[in-house]
Symmetry: C2
Subunit: 814 residues, 2 copies
């Protein structure tokens, strides 16, 4: 029996404060050897470039010129990994490891190497002394590997560079994977972030029968970069209540206490981990029995275990450096000994530090781990560094997609009838969800129905582990629609789901998807990096359907009006980003089929949910989406000739306004040759040199002309079109109307009016920019000015939207 934690506070055994020793001598030796080996390899990576086994006295030449990395969190990560390995061996658990403190890159790299997975991915870094030297040298080194749990690391699906997403990623990873346990180490720094604080609610969204389990390990090492952490400074009662309040059942492990070595901490950890895994198994057994007897319903939400691990920052590292305490303080965060090349004292400390791990017990003369270490290595795919789920493309099942053509709307004439594009898409999405009951989920911040996708509730429900109450709509304990009012959770869950080989869609209000700007940055970086790693297989794309967009925010105001997410996404690598603006129902269907089939992209689709005009038949829509952009012959009158003006558009509302403007021009200025161009795939506007979808200059010039005015009605900020087209020959003739950051709660027409995107303004633009028209058609221009003012005045008087008034010319079908 061992004394519990140095800060016990909460008895882990009901009624007592002692836990049994669960490790016999052999088992204890195995976890301790593994831990020491991983720690040795971690220190080696931070410091050494030569003589990895320290055969010679440590000399400045053995040490890297620039010491880069993070030691503080590393021994704790190694500790957890070693213990999980023991449990995997004993239980044949299928586990993966999420290193929230991804700055502890040395740890995950060390464990992957010890498990052999590193060498399998990178054969030159083999399990020899030379392989160990390469392992050390490559770390945070030019031409080498990054310092984080980056995509380069076998077994990693979470870089942990930007903090906050470990628990959402782990949660997404276990959806629909009932045998998986995602061990998720959460740093106490990370725990201060908003996304992580919200993530604790994950247990409300897990189905214990159908999903796997997350085992969070809250690692309290006390300090961030320079500050104590909030969670480490809460008193234990508060922290216990916090975790219980969010639905978890804490098991505390602390140490080492004064005078303790690691052995009792190992015992406490082993007991806590066994207890946690037992409870997980019991929760799952009960839920699965209940589900079997109750048509899939897993029964009441269980309480899931969480480990609270309190160990010193930089544990096993230098206690004092230059007279300052280091281990257990913020000074252990990065490189505890910074002057090893130049300072003999530092060098001696490093030597003693390395020696403390007793490398001779850990590595043979050939550099390979000894049997004493390997005794703790799980077999084959049970190794967390070799769990195929962490290389999701390996295990990805193809999506079964019903033929979207069957869901299209009949379009006898363009611009005649109305449909809600997202509702039309929703019918297909319903059948996509039905056809892929274990590999596809829909995520959204309580906006699935608002975005008119409610057809999916015919085949599934909104997941809530607490189950439905009277008055709820489509709430189930085994739903596959993940709705929570947190874009961070939706995004992180979907990422975790995709990273482990599944498929999904995120639907959100357009404006608020900016909330996850930084997360999509990080995912795009992951996609970019993994594209360059031959052993990583392509993932399903990260797909967004943004609706309730800037132009139709009828119940809401300026805060809900922001089309800038596409500006953000296009800053990322061209090979991983795609943006689509389908103008109607059939083009949305065709686009969504395309993006759901695609791999390894970030696809952003913006489409309206309101009733809107249909323009293209399904065949036309497919042809148009395949080209990505093109002339609409039925709207143009430049057949066989060079046009006088090109009217271009992208986005549903801009297309509607551009067509209405074209209708006026066709009727009132029939001699004017108008070419009407619609853009679905925004990336087509870029040169081929900038984006794989880019349109060749020759084709672009032929379509847009090199010398005629191009009036472009755009869904988003006008500068984005300029940014994409500035290299084009005729760019100086391009005049873009779009959102100029003018908005409020008002009618749809008032919105386009305020932003100078309305039909009247577009007609005025044509008159102003086509040479000669201004003089000859001043009367028509004035008519437009008057019509604008009248439309506004009518709206201000009545609150009606002028487009709903008969007598207004808006029908673009001719």
């Amino acid at each position: 029996m061992t004394d519990l934690a140095t800060r016990p506070a909460v008895p882990v055994v009901p009624g007592g404060d002692l836990v049994p020793d669960v490790l016999d001598a052999q088992a204890l030796a195995a976890v301790d050897h593994w831990w020491r080996a991983a720690n040795y390899l971690s220190v080696g990576q931070i410091y050494l470039q030569a003589d990895p086994l320290q055969r010679e006295p440590l000399s400045p030449d053995h040490v890297k010129a620039r010491l880069l990395g993070h030691w503080g969190t590393t021994p704790g990560l190694n500790f957890v990994w070693s213990h999980v390995n023991r449990a995997i061996r004993e239980r044949d658990t299928q586990a993966l490891f999420v290193a929230g403190p991804g700055h502890g890159g040395p740890a995950v790299v060390a464990n992957a190497w010890l498990e052999g997975a590193w060498t399998e991915a990178y054969p030159d870094v083999d399990m020899t002394e030379e392989g160990m030297r390469l392992l050390f040298k490559q770390f945070s080194f030019p031409g080498g590997i990054p310092s984080h749990a980056a995509a380069d690391v076998p077994g990693s699906l979470h870089e942990g560079g930007e903090l906050g997403y470990s628990l959402v990623h782990a949660t997404g990873a276990v959806f629909d994977d009932p045998d998986l346990v995602a061990v998720c180490v959460i740093g106490d720094g990370e725990a201060e972030t908003g996304p992580l604080a919200a993530s604790w609610q994950a247990n409300k969204f897990l189905d214990a029968a159908r999903d796997g389990a997350v085992l969070p390990v809250l690692h309290l090492n006390g300090y961030k970069i320079a500050n104590p952490t909030v969670l480490a400074r809460m008193d234990d009662d508060e922290l216990e209540q916090y975790l219980r309040g969010t639905g978890w059942d804490p098991l505390w492990v602390s140490g080492p206490g004064d005078g303790e070595d690691a052995a009792p901490v190992h015992q406490r950890m082993a007991w806590a981990l066994d207890t946690a895994l037992d409870r997980i198994s019991e929760n799952q057994r009960a839920a699965r029995e209940h589900a079997a007897a109750h048509d899939g319903d897993p029964g009441d939400r269980p309480r899931w275990p969480v480990l609270v691990l309190r160990t010193p920052k930089g544990w096993t590292g230098p206690h004092d450096v230059d007279g300052q305490p280091v281990a257990g303080t913020w000074r252990a965060h990065q490189v505890p000994l910074s002057e090893v090349r130049s300072d003999e004292g530092h060098r001696e400390q490093l030597r003693a530090w390395l020696e403390s791990y007793r490398a001779a017990e850990l590595f043979g003369d050939d550099g390979a781990p000894t049997d004493a270490v390997l005794a703790n290595r799980p077999r084959d795919e049970r190794r967390m560094s070799a769990n195929p789920r962490t290389n999701g493309g390996l295990v990805k099942k193809p999506l079964r997609l019903p033929d979207f053509r069957d869901y299209g709307v009949d379009v006898p004439r363009p611009g005649e009838q109305l449909h809600s594009p997202t509702a039309v898409f929703g019918d297909w999405l319903r059948d996509v969800m039905a056809a892929n009951p274990e590999t596809f989920r829909l995520f959204g911040p309580d906006e699935v129905a608002s975005n008119r996708l409610q057809a999916v509730f015919d085949v599934t429900g909104r997941q809530l582990a607490d189950g439905p109450q009277d008055g709820d709509s489509h709430v189930r304990r085994d739903g596959r629609v993940m709705e929570v009012l947190s874009e961070h959770l939706c995004q992180g869950w979907l990422e975790g789901y995709l990273l482990t080989g599944r498929h999904g869609l995120f639907t959100s209000y357009e404006a608020f998807i900016h909330i996850v700007d930084s997360m999509v940055n990080q995912h795009a970086k992951w996609l970019k990096t993994t594209r360059q790693l031959p052993w990583r297989r392509p993932l399903a794309s990260l797909n967004y359907l943004l609706s309730s967009h800037v132009w139709r925010q009828d119940h809401n105001g300026f805060s809900h009006q922001d089309p800038g997410f596409i500006d953000h996404v296009v800053t990322k690598k061209a090979e991983v980003t795609r943006v689509y603006l389908p103008p109607d129902a059939n083009t949305l269907l065709s686009t969504m089929d395309h993006v759901l089939r695609s791999e390894h992209y970030v696809n952003v689709v913006v489409a309206g949910k309101q009733q809107a005009l249909d323009y293209l038949t399904m065949d036309e829509a497919i042809a148009h989406c395949t080209r990505g952009l093109g002339r609409w012959a039925w709207a143009s009158n430049d057949d066989g000739a060079e046009p006088d003006v090109v009217i271009a558009c992208a986005g549903d509302i801009p297309t509607q306004e551009a067509l209405a403007a074209t209708a006026v021009l066709r009727e009132r200025l029939p001699e004017l040759r108008v070419r009407f161009v619609n853009v679905v795939d925004l990336m087509r506007l870029q040169p081929t040199s900038e984006h794989p979808h880019g349109m060749p200059d020759r084709e672009f010039d032929a379509l847009f002309t090199t010398d005629k005015p191009v009036l472009f009605a755009f869904h988003g900020y006008p500068t984005l079109v300029h940014r994409l087209t500035y290299r084009r020959t005729g760019h100086h003739n391009l005049h873009v109307r779009g959102f100029i950051e003018e908005g409020t709660t008002t009618t749809p027409f008032d919105m386009v009016h305020r932003n100078d995107l309305d039909r009247f303004r577009l007609v005025m633009d044509v008159i102003d920019h086509v040479p000669g028209l201004g003089v000859r058609h001043a009367g028509l221009r004035q008519e437009m000015v008057d019509a604008r003012l009248a439309a506004r005045a009518h709206a201000y008087e009545t609150g009606e939207d002028p487009r709903e008034i008969s007598g207004f010319r808006w029908d673009p079908s001719f």
Copy 2:
């Protein structure tokens, strides 16, 4: 005595479950009349455009054509407001109201009108029947006001459009304002967001002696748009633990129970509110006594009260509509009766609903509120709608700024000596903080020291209400540096602080400031809107100092490398955004002095923390920053002549590389006339038509030429420079190098190399783009190719950064 909540769970009186009736008949009547009046006015805003007092039978003409708004949360907001008014009257409390559910715009508008503040801001909407009609009609109406607690609403400092920021705003508002109580209603939907979940930790960062108090009111109305909320479905024990775990002391108010009218709910609310305010007073009294006796130390962190208010969504609204339950369900979210114009049944329901408030008791024949209502109105500035702090510019004190010139570094020759720009700035910042001990704070996600601003700790400390422990660095219970590992909290606190008339600075790693993209969107929208409201006074600017930027992420990898925040910010209105890239220490000082003096902008400053070359003397720096961009004569050799090439740069590392390239050109191609241009104020690149800082075309053409190659070394994504300059005459000659999304953990030189921004590449670019050079100087070009390769090879071999190797030409001083 009244029965406690219908879901009592947690006794609010220790040992019992009954609370005393604290309101006598008169007091009860006052809060109830006010509440009914506010509810009546709220319903009126959503539905009516005429006959506000319902003198005639309700006819379709009285009803707006489009019914827009959110009823669900509104009666709860009115309930809280009414009760706080009573407390204010009794205690003379200085309070403000943060409506987390800002969609309940009708509530805040109604209360502001009842208090007279609306009419003070908008005299035409006076307290008459016609004023009431205008009040109703303007709501969510073209040319009217938005549907949220937007900037248009007197007393609002928080729109609540994008959810998550109510509690951070309220917390920032009470910093350094010891007499203020910020009543913060948090919707149970909002409580699911990450920022809100993290915000509960606010009590760790409040100083009960020096700061005011936040009184959160967690409003459980059960549903979001279409889903039940997580917090409303947690069992009461869990929620109690959750709140206690985050350091709060919950007081529960629920109702009405079966068969109850509002009166007992009023009694419970009054008791809970009185209790909460008593506890706040007691916490503050104890802390202030302790601080007086202990040199400002407020003593142990107190537990602060939180109210948990459980009332039905859409309380007092229609119980059923078209056979579906509405009140108490998600169907009450927006407009419960949607067809009032066309459906007589709906109209009859609306009539009965309005009648239920007994308007004759609430408003006189002239439309003004009756004395029975006004009995609950606080006096003058005690009205929450008229609290001057909510119009921060009104109460803003000027910042006392020491003369930054005194902190400049001597620069005998450009490019000769090294300083850390942020460290130099840090010395001045220290004295700024010392000079403004009650009106300036520094915010950062644990990166103040990492960004080299640690001088501030000479005069203040890191705030942590739990106080320092052994080993902590500069932690205090009364610190003014707000460090928490949550960009959301830093941003929200600073916004709350600025919105109430104070000053501050947010320092962050450049990459992770994207975490608050959406928050800066919303703040920029607030600034844009308030600029158009004559009664709103300008705020201090929202200032960012971004360091640890993309080019110097030595300990970190690709995840930490992202310069795109400036791309994001420039999508907002030009009149409220500014971006600065000072190249050295003195220009940073001059820039920071400028931005701290400025009003009502979002200022983004990006500057390095590493030792970097000084280029400009203080006088030169001031002149250069005043111009915003300009030719550096000492680096150029085009005196009195048109140059052959312009080498332009923005950002510290690009400037260094551009100068090194220029040095090579000056030495090796002395006949080549090089003009060297540095850009500090990025907005100068835009035309005057696009941005107030824009440089006139004539000046731009004179500086950059209209026909010579311009090689632009840029800090961020190259497309941003193109986006800003595409209208310029010589734009087709502009060739931009910048971050092209290539990165990892590596040396500084490897970073510029990977992104083609290094000196060698720039020389090659000049040779490639200046006509004739390519043929004549193929040898020099090859030298550059070889030098690049050698530099990379050396780095890959040794891990050293080539710029640290002697023999490399990098000294740009000549």
